[in-house]
């Protein structure tokens, strides 16, 4: 599109219109309307507007809990917004409609423009206008040179311009020159890259997946062998989780460093991994996993997302049997890493289900990496392990783990407590090495604490393409905004009989084809030089 014309010429349909014709006309007009500049503009607006609620309202894709809370707080209004997909903006019908329309409009706009572009590539610069002094930029003078020499001089000066020479009917010689065609190239590259980027993005949405898993940093392993290995898994539309790239990871240790203020400085996990051929040979390769430095292997990426503590409890039952468990507790406060959780025990040797349900133990409460007591209330004053302590409730009875309902590993089932099936038998603060003895003689000891890391595996086969298109987009954009399209004409006319004989009138005209200002300076310089070179005697400029 050279000049932006929109609002297609509305042709009045002839009277004898049969309905297929009318339909055709309707389709044609719709298409023209859809691919017009004004429609593109309006759609761009709608796209911006439509994306807005995604920033203002909580989104399911980011945080389901917040969405539920929002809906609960806002009653029918929240439910209405939910019905209208305001909590899934980027998957909503209306948002998709806008970008699909924009996509169609873009294709519809680019196809004809590409043809036009190809034609223009071959076309000669337009004929020199009759009245160059009507051009926005204009200069002229007379010289002793012959028109041929003037044209030759001008040609050598206009190197880099696309130009053609013509001899006019009046005997005058002229040059039409054009420069900055690259602008159109850049513009097309930009829009095509945009198209490519959208397609690559959409393909990514189909074939990508993301899975999160918590692994204890004591040499524990995780393998990308299937969905079941993950705590949570978000597949793309075409992913069923059966064909994950196999690789395994072993987390040996996790080392956070903190500033004295408690602000984290760096997180590092020393891991080993196996992928590809290593899986057969059993070789492990070491890697330092850090924030900002994911492990990239076999087209997958492994990220260190989060960390936390897993207190280790040993329960010694009255009969002398022991059970030790380190269940991860989750940070309740990210700045102090005060954590909460529940570590659950079955009494060993009890096989009768009735009995089992009476003797299960839950150790639940708070864990502080650096204990700070306000009276008996535990809080944490620093995120690192300096002086760990836990404030726990010991619950005995039926944990409800066999009830068939899914249970969070971070808490005990409160409905069991309300039913009276689970009773608190002790509440104490405890430090590593200390133990709590409950009424039946069972001892619960806090042995120590382990660290865990939250890992994420991401897979997106098309993201390199997105990057490639983004780079092309930027290059096209830069080119099209920097390059100016401009035209220059030179006409050398032998002076008429009335004037001094043997002289040539040199006229130069210029026109900037784009919005961009600044051609004036270039024109003044260029025309000045041209006229200088043709040895102007009576020079006039305006």
């Amino acid at each position: 599109m050279t000049t932006a014309t929109d609002s297609p010429p509305t042709q009045r349909p002839p009277n004898n219109n049969s309905w297929p014709r009318r339909l055709l006309a309707f389709i044609r007009n719709t298409w023209r309307g859809l691919t017009s500049m004004r429609t593109a503009l309006i759609l761009l607006f709608l796209l911006a507007l439509g994306a807005m609620p995604g920033a203002l309202l909580p989104q399911r894709s980011l945080n389901t809990g917040k969405v539920d809370q929002y809906i609960a707080q806002h009653g029918w209004w929240g439910r209405l917004l939910d019905q209208l997909q305001f909590f899934d903006v980027y998957a909503s019908v209306w948002f998709s409609a806008v970008y699909v329309l924009l996509f169609v409009s873009l294709v519809g706009c680019l196809v004809p423009r590409t043809f036009e572009y190809a034609q223009q590539l071959r076309a000669k610069p337009v004929r020199t206008p009759r009245n160059l002094n009507r051009m926005p930029h204009h200069a002229s003078s007379t010289t002793d040179m012959s028109p041929e020499d003037v044209v030759a001089t001008a040609k050598s000066r206009l190197r880099g311009w696309r130009l053609t020479e013509r001899t006019e009917e009046s005997g005058a010689r002229s040059i039409s020159a054009e420069r900055g065609f690259l602008r159109e190239t850049g513009n097309l590259v930009f829009h095509f890259a945009l198209l490519g980027l959208i397609v690559a993005f959409a393909i990514g949405k189909m074939f990508s997946y993301e899975g999160q898993v918590i692994v204890q940093a004591n040499g524990s392993q995780f393998c990308n062998s299937g969905v079941y290995a993950y705590d949570s898994f978000t597949p793309g539309l075409r992913v069923d989780g059966t064909q994950l790239t196999p690789f395994c990871v072993k987390v040996n240790s996790f080392t956070p460093t903190f500033l004295p203020s408690g602000q984290p400085e760096q997180y590092r996990a020393a891991i080993e991994y196996q992928s590809g051929a290593d899986l057969r040979t059993g070789q492990w390769r070491p890697y330092q996993l850090q924030v900002n430095e994911p492990l990239r292997t076999e087209g997958d990426r492994l990220y260190l997302l989060d960390h936390g503590y897993a207190p280790t409890f040993t329960v010694t039952f009255p009969d002398g049997t022991k059970r030790t468990k380190s269940t991860q507790w989750k940070p309740a406060d990210q700045t102090t890493m005060l954590s909460q959780g529940a570590t659950k025990f079955d009494r060993p040797g009890v096989t009768d289900p009735e009995q089992r349900r009476k003797t299960q133990l839950g150790v639940t409460g708070l864990f502080a990496p650096t204990a700070a007591f306000q009276g008996p209330v535990l809080s944490s004053s620093f995120p690192d392990l300096r002086d760990p302590a836990a404030a726990v409730d010991i619950m005995r009875g039926d944990l409800g783990v066999d009830s068939g309902r899914g249970q969070s590993i971070f808490e005990i089932d409160q409905s069991q407590v309300r039913k009276g099936a689970l009773k608190r038998v002790a509440r104490e603060n405890i430090r590593p090495g200390q133990e709590i003895t409950i009424d039946d003689g069972t001892k619960i000891r806090l042995d120590g604490v382990r660290r865990w890391v939250a890992l994420q595996v991401s897979h997106d086969p098309s993201q390199v393409w997105v990057l490639g298109f983004a780079v092309a987009l930027l290059a096209g954009l830069g080119t099209s905004l920097v390059v100016k399209r401009r035209r220059l004409w030179v006409r050398a006319t032998p002076s008429g009989s009335g004037d001094e004989p043997g002289r040539t009138v040199v006229e130069i005209g210029g026109l900037a084809r784009t919005d961009q200002a600044g051609y004036g300076e270039e024109f003044t310089r260029l025309s000045g030089e041209l006229l200088e070179q043709t040895a102007a005697s009576h020079r006039e400029e305006n």
Partner: protein, 328 residues
């Protein structure tokens, strides 16, 4: 690396000094406006005639020569002009002080000085003022300096009070060379986009005045011509927009490394996207019949509003992954 308290303190002094200097510069430029109306109006009449003469918008308006850098024709300069020049000199001094504050911040914290909102606002503001000074070499819009400095001073005031953060290293997610590239380019391009934002608002004011001479009657006479405002807005936008695009792409690359996905509709990403689309609409509007002029200016103003919204609302109210540690 420990924080150097002395440098940090001097950085703060330099920051406050810069704000004071900008305010002084505003006073001088306003004084020029107040006293220098007659002459300027004469000048504007001249440029109007030029507009009338040539069909398409004349490009001669923005040729250098009438701008600050050129010596005045002859004789002593009139008082208003001297005031205006002093205003510009003060602005330059303010930029120097402002830059000093940033350099000291960086030295104090041992990292690039754009790791939290306070520093970000500071970088954006200094870029805006520098962009304006560069533009003044081409456009004789000196007397509009006040209107540019007004939002700068407000932003810097908010930055220095509500958003102020003591110098400190940044948290793990921000420790990446992408911080250097992404945040600096976002801050710089947002700062630069403040200029077309202001120019477009002024344009709209002038237009409103043309439509109804009673509205903004006093203000409008003090502004540069519509044509010049339009051109200032366009020129700056086409420079800042690719930089902004680059910044968003860098942000996506960084997000891929830090958060596991290059784009996730995090509130900040979303609003950045919206601003980008609005500026794309602005560029389109300039090529669409019937949308140039007022509508284009309105779109550009909206674009700037979105940018500011992104800075304040999204950083302070919503919670996303984008964390500028230590605010509030």
């Amino acid at each position: 690396m420990p924080v150097n308290q002395t440098w940090s303190t001097f950085s703060d002094y330099a920051y406050y000094t810069a704000v004071v200097i900008y305010v002084l510069a505003m006073v001088f430029c306003t004084a020029e406006q107040a006293f220098g109306r007659e002459r300027r109006n004469a000048g504007r009449r001249r440029s109007r005639e030029l507009v009338g003469a040539a069909g398409p918008p004349p490009e001669s308006v923005d040729t250098p020569g009438i701008s600050t850098g050129q010596p005045a024709p002859a004789g002593p300069r009139p008082v208003p002009e001297r005031l205006g020049r002093m205003g510009i000199a003060l602005t330059v001094l303010g930029v120097g002080t402002h830059l000093t504050s940033l350099v000291l911040r960086g030295l104090a914290a041992g990292r690039v000085p754009w790791g939290n909102m306070y520093e970000y606002v500071s970088v954006a503001c200094v870029t805006a003022v520098i962009a304006w000074l560069v533009l003044l070499r081409r456009f004789s819009a000196r007397h509009a300096t006040t209107f540019l400095l007004l939002p700068i001073v407000i932003l810097m005031f908010i930055g220095g009070t509500a958003l102020y953060t003591t110098a400190a290293p940044v948290q793990p997610a921000l420790q990446s060379y992408w911080l250097v590239i992404h945040v600096s380019t976002v801050a710089a391009s947002s700062g630069m986009l403040l200029v077309p934002g202001v120019a477009s608002v002024l344009y709209l004011i002038r237009r409103a005045n043309v439509a109804n001479p009673q509205r903004f009657a006093k203000l409008s006479g003090k502004l540069p011509g519509e044509d010049m405002l339009d051109r200032i807005a366009y020129r700056t936008t086409i420079f800042a927009f690719p930089v902004y695009t680059f910044a968003i792409i860098c942000g996506a690359i960084w997000a891929e490394a830090a958060w596991g996905r290059f784009w996730g509709w995090d509130p900040k990403e979303t609003v950045a996207f919206i601003a980008w689309v609005v500026y794309a609409a602005y560029l389109h509007s300039r090529a669409t019949a019937g949308w140039r002029g007022t509508r284009a200016a309105a779109i550009n103003s909206v674009g700037f509003a979105v940018t500011v919204f992104n800075l304040f609302f999204v950083n302070l109210v919503t919670t996303g992954l984008h964390s500028y540690a230590g605010v509030g």
